[in-house]
Amino acid sequence: MIIGVLALQGDVREHLAALAECDVLARPVRRPEELDSVDALVIPGGESTTMSKLAVDFGILEPLRKRVAGGMPVYGSCAGMIMLATDVLDGRPDQQTLAGIDMQVRRNAFGRQVDSFEGPVEIEGIDGGPFHAVFIRAPWVESVGDDVEVLGRVTEGPATGRIVAVRQRNLLATAFHPELTGDLRVHRFFVEMARAAETTEG
C-alpha cells in the first residue's frame, strides 16, 4: 500500500515523515498521474486557498474528487480538513473543495495567529489519553450531516465543545496538526483505515 501526501503547498515533509514512521510507503503527489499510483492520500496543513487554486490550475481537482467519490481513504489536517468539506464558511467565494465530508467548516475560526494555541483534545476510538493538539489559524467544524461521526471536540478554554475531528466512511479530518507533535496515533489510525479499505475493496 502506498499513501500519497498532496504536495501543492504546506507541511508535506512532516506528514511524509509521520507516515514513514508508521511503516508505510509514502510519497508526494502533485500531478494526476502521481495520484493514480497511490492507494490513500493525506492532505497537509497549509493555506487552503492556495492549495485549492493550484489544484484547479494543475488539473488535479477533478481527479481528486473522483477518487474521493470512489472511496479512496483520505486524511486532512487543518487546510486538509477544509479541502475535504462540502461547505466552507469565511473562505474565498471561488474556493473549490473535494466535497467529501458532509460538514460546514469555518476557516480561521479560532482567530488570527496570536490566537493559535496548543491544548488537549480527546479523540473517540483512539486510546492513550488526550492529544496534545496544535491549532494554527485553525478551522473548526460548525455542523455535520447525519453520516458524519464526530470524533473529537475542544475540552478546555473559550472554544470548549467545538468539533475538531470527524470521520465519514473512509475520510478523516482534524483541525489540528498531529504531524507537528510526534504523536503518531492519528496517522496510525488512518493507516489502519486505509488498510481496512484495501482489504474490503479486494
Binding site: 487554486k53 474565498r92 491544548g119
Partner: protein
C-alpha cells in the same frame, strides 16, 4: 517577559504564543510565496494569484531605494485595510530593534512580524527580544551565524537575505548557498570541534550542536530579495529554500497579477522545467533591475543587521 520555548502542557489549559505554534505557522507556509503589498488592492491581487500570505509595508524596497529617507512600519490604517481585504495571513515589517512598532503590529492582529533590514534600523546594537511576543517573527540572515543569533532571540522563521528592491537575484543565491554550506559543514565536524565552530559562528553552542545533528535549521528557511521571475523563484527552491518572499518583483512589473500567479506555480513545480517554461511565457516586462554592484556599499540593505 519570557515565553516558554517548547512547553509540553498535556492535559492543561490551552496556551498561545508557544515556540511550537509560532514555528508551526511558518511550516504551513512552506512551498508558498509571500508577496509585498502596500495597499489593500495589491493584497487582493496577491491573494487571487495564490499567495500564502502578504507582507504589508509602507513602500516596496525599489521605492525605498529610489526615494530614500527613513523607512518605517506602515500606517495602522493601511495594515487594517489589508487585514480586512484578504483571508490569508498578513505579515508586516517592523524596523530592526523597534520593539514598539512590533507591539503595535501585534495589537493590530498581524499574523507574523518581519524585523526587516529593508526598513531603516531603529537600533544598531540590539534586535527585538522576540520571545517577549505572542506573535511570531521572521528575520533575515546572510549566513548561519546571523540566522542562529536571530533564532536565539526568538525568531520563528528565517529568510535568507538578498538585495531587496533590485531585481538582482545574485545576493539571494550567495546567502542561501552560504547558509546551506555552513549547515553541511557543521554536520561533518566531530563533536569536540563544535565548541570552536560555535565561537566562530558567534552563535549559541546548543543551537550549533542541534544543527550538527539534524542538518537543518530548527525553523523554516525561506528566501528573499531580488527575486523577479518564476525562474528566480524556482532556482532558489532548488538551492534549498522552503518558500519565497517576493517584494518589488511583482508590483514593479508590467503585469502584476499574471506574474504573481506564475511565480506561485513555479514555486510549487520548482523542479519541473516544463512548467516553469510554460508559466514564464508572455509575462510582459519584468521589473527594471539594478545590479547590486552598482549600489554603493552604504546603501546595501542586506548588510544591515548583524
Amino acid at each position: 517577559m519570557s515565553e516558554q520555548t517548547s512547553s509540553s502542557t498535556s492535559n492543561s489549559a490551552p496556551v498561545t504564543g508557544t515556540a511550537r505554534v509560532k514555528r508551526g505557522m511558518a511550516e504551513m507556509l512552506k512551498g508558498g510565496v509571500i508577496m509585498d503589498v502596500v495597499t489593500p488592492e495589491q493584497a487582493k491581487i496577491a491573494e487571487d494569484a495564490g499567495a500564502v500570505a502578504v507582507m504589508a509595508l509602507e513602500r516596496v524596497p525599489a521605492d525605498i531605494r529610489a526615494q530614500g529617507g527613513v523607512s518605517r512600519m506602515s500606517d495602522p490604517d493601511m495594515i487594517e485595510g489589508i487585514i480586512n481585504a484578504v483571508s490569508i495571513p498578513v505579515m508586516a515589517k517592523a524596523r530592526i530593534g523597534h520593539f514598539v512598532e512590533a507591539q503595535v503590529l501585534q495589537a493590530l492582529g498581524v499574523d507574523y512580524i518581519d524585523e526587516s533590514e529593508v526598513l531603516t534600523p531603529a537600533d544598531y546594537e540590539n534586535h527585538i527580544d522576540k520571545w517577549a511576543f505572542t506573535v511570531p517573527f521572521v528575520c533575515g540572515a546572510t549566513n548561519l551565524g546571523e540566522a542562529l543569533r536571530r533564532i536565539n532571540e526568538g525568531a520563528a522563521m528565517i529568510r535568507s537575505k538578498g538585495e531587496a528592491g533590485t531585481g538582482d537575484v545574485s545576493n539571494a543565491t550567495t546567502h542561501m548557498r552560504k547558509i546551506r554550506q555552513e549547515i553541511r559543514r557543521l554536520t561533518s565536524l566531530p563533536e569536540d570541534e563544535l565548541y570552536v565552530a560555535a565561537k566562530e559562528l558567534q552563535a549559541p553552542y546548543e543551537l550549533v550542536k542541534e544543527i550538527a545533528g539534524t542538518g537543518k535549521l530548527p525553523v523554516v528557511l525561506f528566501t528573499a530579495g531580488g527575486i523577479a521571475t518564476p525562474a528566480d523563484a524556482a532556482m532558489m527552491m532548488q538551492l534549498g529554500a522552503e518558500g519565497v518572499f517576493v517584494g518589488s518583483g511583482i508590483f514593479k512589473s508590467g503585469n502584476p497579477a499574471q506574474r504573481a500567479a506564475a511565480i506561485v506555480k513555479a514555486t510549487t513545480f520548482y523542479d519541473d522545467p516544463d512548467v516553469i517554461a510554460k508559466v514564464s511565457r508572455g509575462l510582459g516586462e519584468a521589473m527594471v533591475g539594478i545590479n547590486v554592484d552598482d549600489i554603493p556599499v552604504p546603501h546595501r540593505l542586506a548588510e544591515r543587521g548583524w
